[in-house]
């Protein structure tokens, strides 16, 4: 456990020192400018627009970090041969993968936390007060973090056997497909025969990012059901753990030429 936390904290430190958190500045500019701009117009929907824009920005900024750092977590260490000196120590390969995963997940949690502060600040500026319904915004932010957790595990999985570029393509493609997971499942239900099995299998294998995206509904003040929070938490943890286990199995048997 000590080794996993050492690897995780080093990964976090790398992200901070490589100025990954500088994206917060861009986010701050965007959210402040939006709040000021929407404050000028008063047609009753400025809050909805700000929530949509703010949460989408949190999601997109994090998505870019999760994919582009996620795919490099292992490949960069192999390419620069830093991995050799790590694995020549009493570090098991799975500890390395799990440490890397938690390091980037931690980075994104911290990043999202600061974005959330900016976002709520902008919301307070615009609406002058918080309402009880705004609590569902926290659930939406939590779901966004769950999406990052799945994406990091997928990026690690792909990068355990593929090139960084292909890993980025695969991970992003799965994110896009996963956004339409609900539609895929409905489509699969309408087919028949062998197609039904194939389509259903595919629809359930791709990560269900659709149910993790509640931005639009919370923007309209709809609450998030507790059941959904429990279901999404379990789903994200099981999905990420499965992807991470597959990454570990591949990495355990890989020759580090």
């Amino acid at each position: 456990m000590k080794r996993v936390s050492a690897i995780a904290s080093n990964t976090f430190r790398e992200a901070v020192r490589d100025r990954v958190l500088y994206n917060l500045i861009l986010f701050a500019v965007l959210i402040v400018a939006s709040a000021l701009l929407f404050g000028q117009i008063s047609i009753g929907i400025e809050k909805i627009i700000l929530i949509n824009l703010g949460l989408s920005a949190v999601s997109i900024f994090g998505l870019v970090i999760a994919i582009f750092i996620g795919i490099q977590l292992v490949s960069k260490e192999i390419e620069k041969r830093t991995l050799y000196t790590v694995l020549a120590r009493p570090v098991r390969r799975w500890e390395f993968i799990v440490g890397k995963f938690f390091g980037l997940a931690g980075t994104l949690v911290v990043n999202t936390f600061f974005m959330a502060i900016g976002f709520f600040g902008a919301l307070l500026y615009l609406a002058h007060k918080f309402e009880r319904a705004d609590a569902s915004l926290l659930a939406a932010l939590y779901f966004i973090i769950l999406q990052f957790v799945i994406l990091i595990a997928l990026a690690l999985l792909f990068s355990s056997f593929s090139t960084p570029l292909l890993s980025a393509v695969f991970t992003f493609a799965l994110f896009v497909i996963g956004t339409f997971a609900q539609d895929l499942r409905e489509f699969a239900a309408m087919t028949s025969g062998a197609t039904k099995y194939l389509a259903t299998g595919f629809a359930y294998i791709v990560p269900n990012f659709a149910s993790l995206n509640v931005i639009s509904s919370v923007a309209h003040g709809q609450p998030v059901a507790t059941d959904l929070i429990v279901y999404n938490t379990l789903y994200a943890l099981v999905y990420a753990a499965t992807a991470l286990s597959a990454a570990v199995i591949i990495f355990e048997n890989r020759n580090l030429k």
């Binding site: 020192r17 000196t85 120590r89 570090v91």
Partner: protein, 318 residues
């Protein structure tokens, strides 16, 4: 117990995308390294030295055969806590300072928190980097990085240290420092296994050497024995350029710098050479029997050496 023991350790890679073809990187290698010795692993570039080290470090898996380090199987975490490794052309996390890097590696090696600071200070002192321990590694020169690399290999006080080309890219002072450090580690009873293609370094510090070429072990020898052998040649040093041509006529190999001349010729010609020097009134400085060098042994073992194979015999230092 041997520090390192390999039994028919073999590695074949499969290269190509669709139609993979085998590429033999290391032929079955059986080798023993004793505890407390400095063992040089010599060979031209591409001989299989790094492959051997990667196999021993568990970075690649053998096609067949086995190996034990300190009596334990490769990959055993207990064994890994007792070894240090410096890869070839090391590159470290350049966003860290030397102190942070060593702290990270010490944590991975299980050095207790209360011990870490002291160990880091000792290691940094040893590689003379204490003054720059707060500087990020991205500002370090190649030589400094190599020294950080050695520091990380010894931070957890290992019994056995693997060094892959530890002198490559270093200036003469840096090489000397690394050699001194290796000698210091040997004096402390550590076992050192190091690969190199610079023969003078191996000759200076190794107890034994193995020669590898094209993935095959060509020979193992004790350096003192190899370099003790007389070659049947003597070297004359004298002043008097006029005598140089006369010695050349006797079949000597002559190197002249102004009036100062060095000439090598078979021992049987020694008296004739002395007569010649007297005749030409040359001033004789010394006559020394020429001993075998590691280079002779090395070249003798590389029977199939091709001219395009790049190794630095030029650096053999004589």
């Amino acid at each position: 117990m041997f520090a390192i023991e390999t039994l028919a350790l073999e590695k074949t890679y499969h290269v190509g995308f669709w139609r993979k073809r085998p590429k033999l990187s290391l032929r079955p290698l059986t080798l023993q390294v004793n505890e407390g010795e400095v063992f040089g692993y010599l060979g031209p570039n591409g001989a299989g030295k790094t492959t051997t080290l990667k196999l021993l470090m568990g970075l690649v898996f053998p096609t067949s055969g086995s190996a034990k380090i300190l009596g334990m199987e490769i990959g055993d975490p207990r064994m890994k806590a007792q070894i240090g490794f410096l890869p070839e052309h090391p590159y470290f996390y350049d966003y860290l300072t030397a102190h942070e890097l060593l702290d990270y590696y010490a944590r991975l090696s299980g050095v207790p928190a209360q011990e870490r600071k002291r160990r880091i200070d000792v290691a940094l002192d040893r590689v003379k980097l204490h003054d720059v321990n707060k500087v990020q590694l991205r500002k370090f020169s190649k030589g400094m990085l190599q020294r950080v690399g050695i520091a990380q290999a010894i931070i957890h006080d290992p019994k056995l240290i693997f060094l892959d080309e530890p002198m490559s890219g270093l200036d003469p002072i840096g090489r000397r420092e690394v050699r001194d450090l290796m000698q210091e580690l040997k004096d402390q009873g550590k076992t050192i296994f190091f690969s190199t293609h610079i023969l003078s370094d191996a000759e200076t510090i190794c107890d034994r050497v193995a020669v590898l070429n094209k993935g095959e072990l060509k020979g193992v020898g004790v350096v003192a024995d190899l370099t003790d052998k007389l070659t049947g040649t003597v070297e004359f040093q004298f002043e008097g350029a006029a005598a140089a041509d006369a010695l050349r006529a006797l079949g000597a190999t002559v190197h002249a710098t102004g009036e100062s001349v060095r000439a090598q010729l078979p021992e049987a010609m020694q008296d004739a050479a002395i007569d010649t020097l007297r005749r030409h009134k040359a001033r004789l400085l010394s006559i020394t029997p020429v001993r075998a060098t590691l280079e002779d042994y090395f070249l003798g073992k590389l029977d199939a050496l091709q001219p395009q194979e790049n190794f630095e015999v030029a650096e053999a230092g004589r």
